[in-house]
């Protein structure tokens, strides 16, 4: 896709990093049974997973999206550990609770109480067979119709979720080498998995996991420079060795770390408008280095009118599309409570106003 080479195609491409189950079902006219989670793998039921892939592909094709993101699968035969209180734990030690409204499992705790628990923990095997099941299944269905992005999860974000946040922070202060080693080990896992993702014919690596909250990065800039970014660099280099680009998703106010981030990754998704990230400003400062994907506000998709969404989409196109290197999306994903009519209005506006050369006035 020439967009990724910072050239202008005929039309601004459009995608979403994820679409919640309720919307997928409406778009595809299907009923899904697979257990899902926005944060991790929760099933190795391949039949249900194949249905999920089929429904997702159908929905993305119907929307005319140019890129389809696909999560890693759990290894063959893996099952979550079920607890008496109804929660489950995943391969990484997260405890998850079921959100009935979103019909997905969300992170709600951790099995780790001390660093020694992690040292005894059976760390996931990157080479366990089956991890690219969903990617292979998606590729089989889409052929060359869409760009396929394979997800990995950022090591810092994984560690932040694996341990309770209070424990992560406490150990960051009291056992900094332990936290550093955990992040390095997860980065090693990702580097092994990146090769498998590309071998499974993915065209792109997508890396989830937030670095920042509304106000600022989650941890001091020094920790980004000393630990997070060197490990990010290693993963990006692994993607480049495999011949693909690396797009980082993160919400939040990234301004204190943008310069370093722009020197490492090939692209950025979200550009969170609720955190003061202005896509026009990011385009001006980093547009030659970074592919940008975003940034219609996910909050606005839930609360605003169609007309306001259309205007916001036009603003994104006007500010970020000229020169290429831009894909339209929301600032995160289509949540359960996003109004589907707003989501579709965003897509329609993207098609109507996103033809190059972009001629949307201020």
């Amino acid at each position: 896709m020439i967009t990724f080479d910072h050239e202008e195609p005929d039309q601004v491409p459009i995608t979403e990093m994820a679409i919640d189950v309720v919307h997928l079902e409406k778009l595809a006219g299907a009923k899904l049974t697979a257990d899902t989670s926005p944060q991790t793998q929760v099933t190795s039921d391949r039949r249900a997973e194949a249905d999920m892939v089929a429904t997702t592909v159908l929905a993305y094709k119907k929307l005319g999206f140019e890129l389809i993101p696909v999560e890693l699968s759990a290894p063959d035969g893996w099952n979550p550990q079920k607890k008496p209180d109804g929660t489950i734990s995943d391969e990484w030690g997260r405890i998850l609770s079921y959100d009935a409204k979103c019909r997905s499992w969300v992170s709600s705790g951790s099995i780790f109480s001390a660093p020694e628990d992690f040292e005894r923990f059976p760390f996931p095997d990157p080479h366990a067979p089956g991890r690219t099941f969903a990617i292979e299944e998606t590729k089989r269905r889409i052929g060359d119709e869409m760009v396929l992005g394979g997800w990995i999860k950022d090591p810092f974000a994984t560690a932040w979720e694996m341990f309770k946040v209070t424990d992560f922070v406490r150990w960051l202060y009291e056992r900094p080498n332990f936290i550093r080693q955990v992040i390095e080990r997860i980065a090693d896992f990702n580097i092994d998995v990146i090769k498998q993702i590309v071998d499974a014919k993915a065209d792109l690596i997508l890396c989830s996991g937030d670095y920042a909250e509304k106000k600022s990065p989650l941890v001091p800039v020094k920790f980004f420079k000393d630990v997070i970014f060197p490990n990010l660099q290693r993963q990006v280099e692994a993607a480049h060795r495999a011949g693909v680009k690396f797009i980082k998703h993160t919400d939040g106010n990234l301004n204190p770390i943008m310069e370093d981030l722009a020197n490492i990754v090939d692209g950025l998704q979200s550009i969170d408008p609720t955190a003061g990230m202005n896509i026009g400003d990011v385009k001006r400062r980093y547009g030659e280095r970074l592919i940008l994907i975003g940034n219609v506000s996910v909050d606005n998709l839930c609360t605003r009118t169609k007309e306001e969404i259309v205007q916001e989409t036009k603003d994104c196109l006007r500010d970020a599309a000229p020169g290429g290197g831009y894909m339209l999306s929301s600032s995160n994903s289509w949540y359960t409570d996003a109004k589907l009519e707003n989501c579709l209005a965003m897509v329609d506006a993207g098609r109507k106003y996103g033809r190059y050369p972009i001629t949307i006035p201020d």
Binding site: S108, V165, V169, Y173, K215, P220, D299
Partner: protein, 210 residues
């Protein structure tokens, strides 16, 4: 530098639990009033909060000061009970229905507790009826509602509506906060206060009592 200044500095500079603990133990051994120790902690938290607002500190520092504050509260609990230390007021706090996030709520709870409030933590995904039931049965002076998801904002409106319907609205102050919450939203639903972050929540809660 006195031990009270050391305690304030431990919080202001986020020195960690061990450093804070040894200062507090030394202060208690010297016979320092627990209430003065708590005040030093609050002064230090205030400095840390301003640094967070200026962008010098990040969420992790805020979380660490919360951890230190909880530890100090545990250390001083026997002394404060013995000395008859009173709470400023009881606050019932929860993440509203439809939202399972608790980092912000927990941080706010810790800060409020450190500031002298009695906390009744209702947890996450709290139905509107539960907030109303707690107001009716336990008479907190303040209800604090938190959410991270935009979807949960409707739940806050429902709580407000049910407080009105049950005739309890005038008996409690309602404060709101969380990522999607704005001052305009807070005003629109009739809340009594809005906090941008956990540090601000303390001032907002104190203002609500006046």
């Amino acid at each position: 530098m006195s031990l009270l200044e050391d305690i304030e500095r431990a919080f202001a500079e986020v020195s960690g639990v061990d450093q804070m603990r040894s200062c507090v133990q030394a202060a208690l051994a010297e016979g320092t009033s627990p209430l003065r120790i708590v005040q030093s902690m609050r002064d230090g938290l205030s400095v840390a909060g301003r640094k967070y607002e200026r962008g010098e500190y990040f969420l992790s520092e805020l979380v660490m000061t919360g951890i230190m504050a909880q530890e100090l509260s545990s250390m001083l609990k026997p002394y404060l009970q013995r000395d008859g230390g009173e709470f400023l007021a009881r606050i019932a706090i929860g993440t509203v229905q439809g939202d399972l996030h608790d980092i912000g709520k927990n941080l706010v709870s810790t800060m409020l507790s450190s500031a002298g409030f009695e906390i009744r933590d209702l947890g996450v995904d709290v139905p509107p009826e539960k907030f109303v039931q707690i107001v009716n049965n336990e008479k907190p002076r303040i209800v604090a509602m938190s959410c991270l998801l935009t979807v949960a904002m409707d739940a806050m409106k429902k709580v407000m509506g049910q407080l009105v319907e049950s005739g309890l609205r005038s008996e409690v102050k309602v404060l709101v906060g969380g990522r999607p919450i704005t001052p305009e939203f807070a005003e629109g639903i009739g809340a009594d206060g809005y906090g941008e972050n956990a540090i601000e929540a303390v001032d907002v809660a104190k203002s609500a009592l006046t």
